[in-house]
């Protein structure tokens, strides 16, 4: 009996089965699909490229399809060609009514009309032996309807890498989904799932219109037309380049602004050395120069970090080199900081529901011209820090309660000691399904044994990094953040209303008591502030974010100088 079963199993294994391709989607690589037609249009809402009139499609394997109309679905990774279709393959040329190729599944469906109507399915790129008569998915040739839809991009050719980008040439782009630009030589639309293409080294600007003009599977070049309402000359150009190394490495270079005298040259880099370690570099050069002429001012810094994950913590080696000037004039002051930082992961505090995190760091600071205005060229620092957080407790009347505490002490070899604490307690309530109100009491303290013997550094291992580092998120050297024995008590009431993803409104009222002194124009923040922020959809893909603050006549100040306006794409 067992032998019979074994024989049957062996015969079953040897018997021919109908050919089929793999069901699960497969990686399709970066080979390009090329489309040429009288009209090639991209509809961003549906992520579909449509070509009409004398369509010529070159498949990634070199086969060619011609027809009256083609659609390329970037999400389905499918191309469909319809109307007077001719299919040119190494195995022969065929005429028919429709062709559809699902690249991720390696299936191509064809409807020949010569010598008579039929259904053929090509499996796994084999053009020589179609499965004839094989049943097809009912929507294999379905064509999206764009009868009443405006395209985002119009051109006559498109080169498509299904995983990363589509390049159109020439290209007219519909700005704000309404106004088409004149035909540009080329436009690259980037839709890569690799987040490293999103790494942004450009700071500032309330509006940014990128014009990507060059692209490969692992690089992207773009010009950015920008608008910054805080600058004297509000409109300017910038340039940014991305290079990717595998899935986890990148180098991003930018010049921002490129069209004004005060320039930032930025370099951001990251590479994953192993699954538990990585190397990052961040360098900035600030120049004042007309075009690319000799600069009248040139400063900069470079920061390199190596991070190693441990079992329940991580260590980071951090080196920071600053340059007060690169010019022959001025003091060649080049401070250097080398630090080692240890950060523990969030851990439960027994079974209390509380969590805590511990941190520490050790750094050496060298400045030949003296640190913090002193004559000492070298100093050491080390710090210890801890966070404690409660869970969110449910109180009466649907009120939620939570709190966090942060404490840190830094010892400097001057000698000096700097201590900071932050205590936050919040009560929150959901008023309606779309409205939340949060009341918060926030107390921050900072004290130093000797106020003059302090400094700030972007190197977090020193324990003296301003947070947040700067308005643009990048570290800026030399911001004094420690005031001896300062206490800031903040009482905040904030509310947000989000009836839909297309509209959000939030407002906050803030009262601040700051000691030792809170006088307009002397020291301390405004005593009372209010702010509001509204974000709403202005087109199918663009949002506007408008904000403004009010200071209740603090030193003569009523409103913030201007509205904050940010336009971004979703």
């Amino acid at each position: 009996m067992k032998r019979a079963i074994a024989l049957a199993a062996a015969l079953a294994a040897m018997s021919p089965i109908s050919a089929r391709s793999d069901q699960a989607p497969q990686a399709i690589g970066h080979a390009l699909l090329r489309v040429r037609a009288a009209q090639v249009r991209y509809f961003s809402d549906q992520a579909v490229v449509q070509a009409r009139g004398g369509v010529d499609v070159q498949l990634p394997d070199g086969a060619e399809v011609r027809g009256d109309l083609a659609t390329v679905d970037l999400r389905l990774r499918r191309v469909a060609v319809a109307g007077h279709v001719t299919l040119h393959t190494p195995a022969g040329d065929f005429a028919g009514a429709g062709f559809a190729d699902f690249f991720a599944f390696r299936r191509a469906y064809f409807l020949p009309l010569v010598p008579s109507a039929d259904r053929w399915t090509f499996l796994n790129g084999d053009w020589s032996a179609p499965e004839k008569g094989r049943e097809m998915p009912g929507d294999a040739f379905a064509l999206p309807d764009f009868h009443e839809t405006q395209p985002y991009i119009e051109g006559t050719t498109a080169a498509i890498d299904f995983t990363t980008f589509a390049r159109f040439a020439p290209a007219s782009i519909r700005v704000f989904d309404a106004v088409p630009t004149p035909a540009l030589p080329v436009y690259v639309y980037n839709f890569s799932a690799n987040q490293n293409f999103g790494v942004n080294s450009l700071s500032g600007a309330s509006f940014d219109a990128p014009y990507a003009f060059a692209r490969s599977a692992d690089s992207l070049d773009a010009l950015h037309l920008r608008y910054d309402q805080t600058l004297p000359v509000k409109e300017f150009w910038s340039f940014e380049h991305h290079s990717l190394f595998g899935d986890a490495g990148y180098a991003v270079f930018s010049l921002n602004p490129a069209s004004q005298a005060a320039k930032q040259w930025n370099l951001l880099g990251y590479d994953q050395v192993s699954s538990r370690s990585g190397f990052a570099v961040n360098a900035q050069l600030f120049t004042v120069q007309s075009g690319l002429s000799e600069p009248t001012s040139s400063t900069g810094f470079a920061d390199a970090q190596f991070t190693q994950a441990l079992e329940q913590s991580a260590v980071r080696l951090d080196a920071t080199q600053s340059y007060d000037t690169f010019l022959a004039t001025g003091a060649p002051d080049h401070p250097f900081v080398l630090g080692l930082q240890w950060t523990g992961y969030d851990q439960p505090l027994f079974r209390s529901g509380f969590t805590y995190r511990l941190q520490s760091g050790f750094a050496h600071i060298h400045d030949a011209f003296g640190i913090a205005g002193q004559t000492l060229p070298d100093a050491w620092s080390h710090y210890l820090g801890a966070y404690l957080a409660t869970p969110a407790y449910q109180g009466p009347a649907g009120i939620g309660l939570d709190a966090t505490a942060q404490m840190q002490r830094t010892w400097l070899s001057f000698p000096n000691t700097v201590s900071t604490t932050t205590l936050t307690a919040s009560a929150s309530r959901q008023v309606t399904p779309h409205i939340y109100v949060v009341a918060t009491q926030l107390t921050q303290t900072a004290s130093a044994t000797t106020a003059s013997l302090t400094f700030a550094s972007p190197n977090t291992a020193t324990g003296l990094s301003p947070a947040p580092p700067s308005p643009n998120g990048l570290p800026v050297y030399g911001i004094a953040t420690v005031v001896p024995d300062a206490v800031s008590r903040n009482y905040i009431l904030s509310g947000s209303w989000q009836p839909s993803p297309a509209f959000q409104f939030s407002a906050a009222a803030l009262k601040t008591d700051y000691s030792p002194i809170q006088v307009p124009g002397v020291a301390g923040p405004p005593r009372y502030q209010m702010s509001g922020d509204m974000r709403f959809r202005i087109t199918r893909t663009l949002f506007a974010d408008v904000s403004r603050g009010y200071f209740f006549n603090w030193g003569g100040r009523l409103w913030t100088p201007q509205f904050g306006i940010q336009v971004s794409a979703q």
């Binding site: 109908s18 391709s21 069901q23 009256d68 319809a82 007077h84 279709v85 022969g92 065929f94 005429a95 009514a97 429709g98 599944f105 409807l111 009309l113 008579s116 109507a117 039929d118 399915t121 020589s128 094989r134 009912g138 929507d139 040739f141 379905a142 064509l143 309807d145 009868h147 839709f191 890569s192 799932a193 999103g198 942004n200 899935d247 538990r276 991070t307 190693q308 994950a309 991580a314 930082q341 992961y345 969030d346 966070y387 957080a389 969110a392 939620g400 939570d402 966090t404 936050t424 919040s426 949060v438 947070a467 643009n472 998120g473 905040i492 989000q498 993803p501 974010d545 794409a569 979703q570």
Partner: protein, 245 residues
Amino acid sequence: MLAPIQTSSATPIPQASQTPPPDVAATPAATLPRYSGQLLDIERGYVVFSTGDALRLASDVSIVDDDTGVAPTYAIEPGLYAIAIVAPDTGLVTSLRFAHSPRPNATPIADVPRALVSAASSPQPNPDLAPPKTRYTSKLSASVQVTITVLVPPDTPFGADVYIATDTSGWNAQAIKMQRVDGRHFRVVSQLTGGTDFHYLFTRGSWATVERERSGLQRQARELAIEGGDALEVAATIYRWADLP
């Protein structure tokens, strides 16, 4: 080697007749079988729909606009919607009525009797067409209410806003703004279509403030696939911010 193209037989699309054809739908012939679908092609004596079904055309087939009953003023091209009226005795399409929108007043072409469909090869089963298995199914709505709630690290600056950057927005760091729920939680509610699949990361509004792994290393993008159902709740935790130690 398969059959090569017969270069001489590519018949042009039968455009609207120079002599207005009779509007068969406005006559008693309107009771003839009517099949509607999306047009893929008309050539070589066939009308082919996007279902892949090819029907033979009568030599004197009439072509009209379905709304006006007269010759269409637009080009007959793939993607239009069409009603094919079939003569029961011959099985040939005697009239084609076109429109720019789907035509509900006819039998869907997918339900056309197989005897009317031209196919050189006998139908073969397709083992790939087994119904896909999904974890959730819904008969209540086509869209899914997705709620993403995230717990932020304890060192998050209190005044910070939290956003979601997605690959579908070109990794714009402010693509989706989240709503503060309490001291450490933010959320966003959205209606998404089943089958939606995207990658995302949380940010505080810029790429310099994107979330990181616990260790501070760069993290891979999160992925959200909407498989179906009426509601989906996603609870996420951010361990570290890129700009904070």
